[in-house]
Amino acid sequence: MTFTTNNTFYEKLEFLQETSPSIQNNFSTSSFIDITYSEISYVPSTFADYVEYQYAFYFGKDGTSGNNTINIIAKLLYSDDGGSSWTDWGENTQVFIGSTTSNTRSRGLCIIKFFLETSASGSRSAWLGNRKLKLWGKKQSGDVRLHQLMEFRGDSGNVSSNNFYYPSVQCKSIKV
């Protein structure tokens, strides 16, 4: 079956895509760092109860002979001062991807999606103006490389390097 439709509401979609990404493999087990290409600025639509934040990226092994334990912990931060200072968003905005098992060797596309309230909560003010969002990441063990496929075989040829999935980040407004 095939459905065809057009939106009847304005979800104010905004997104960024990086078409010349660089490898990111500098994660540590002790402290979080920025996950590249995950940052976006967004002003919700006036009707919005929630904002959906979504980040799509490729993750895998760090090199062909690298560690076979592959995982990453990602959490969301926000800034209301243009990026000068950042604060954890808090509950429901941290995910674990991959495995701590040594031989899983997991690789593939991953989509991280968070639903964020626009109303005030705790120390976080209501989301009325421009707010920046980004992901921080660290690894629990092993090694991980983002954005670059180490290998591909198919109609595009058999290639061992210089192949990337283009990461993208997007936000849209949601009315309950």
């Binding site: 459905f3 439709t5 905004e14 031989n103 997991s106 999935y165």
Partner: protein, 149 residues
């Protein structure tokens, strides 16, 4: 190059879920069944997004290594889109079952073009079965294509 697209609206959203039988993928490139779609972008759109969701399970092998890519037919036959439209998915030693989910973003075009996913495994010791889980629960692939204005 970072490409910002602000205040965009999705138009001409097409969702397809065709009934497919389970499909064994081996080391020869084949079309991934249920992923082919003809699409005419909305006039004056800037980009087209191709989303996919496909169930798999590891059998008949313990390890899986699936290479898949997006191909496009603009009127003279299918061609792989190459860099940026390739994925290497790996599960090993875990008898993996999961849903492959993702999307590719293309420059828009005029008229009707066809899109599909093709795939192969690393070798015949890492074959994979699509469109069902190990218990035989069926899950037809879902393809969603839309234009960004």
């Amino acid at each position: 190059m970072y490409i910002p697209r602000k205040n965009k609206i999705k138009k001409n959203i097409v969702v397809q879920s065709s009934s497919e039988t389970s499909q064994l993928i081996s080391s020869t490139v084949v079309d991934i069944s249920g992923t082919e779609i003809s699409y005419t972008p909305e006039a004056n759109s800037s980009k087209v997004v191709y989303e996919f969701k496909i169930q798999f399970h590891n059998d008949p092998d313990q390890h899986n290594n699936l290479f898949y890519e997006l191909q496009k037919d603009s009127g003279s036959g299918y061609s792989p889109l190459g860099k940026g439209y390739l994925v290497n998915m790996v599960y090993q030693f875990v008898y993996g079952q999961n849903v492959i989910e993702g999307y590719f973003i293309l420059d828009s075009w005029s008229g009707s073009n066809d899109l599909k996913l093709t795939g192969r495994t690393y070798d015949n010791q890492r074959e994979i079965t699509l469109h069902e889980d190990e218990a035989g629960n069926h899950f037809d692939p879902i393809i969603k294509v839309y234009s960004l204005m």
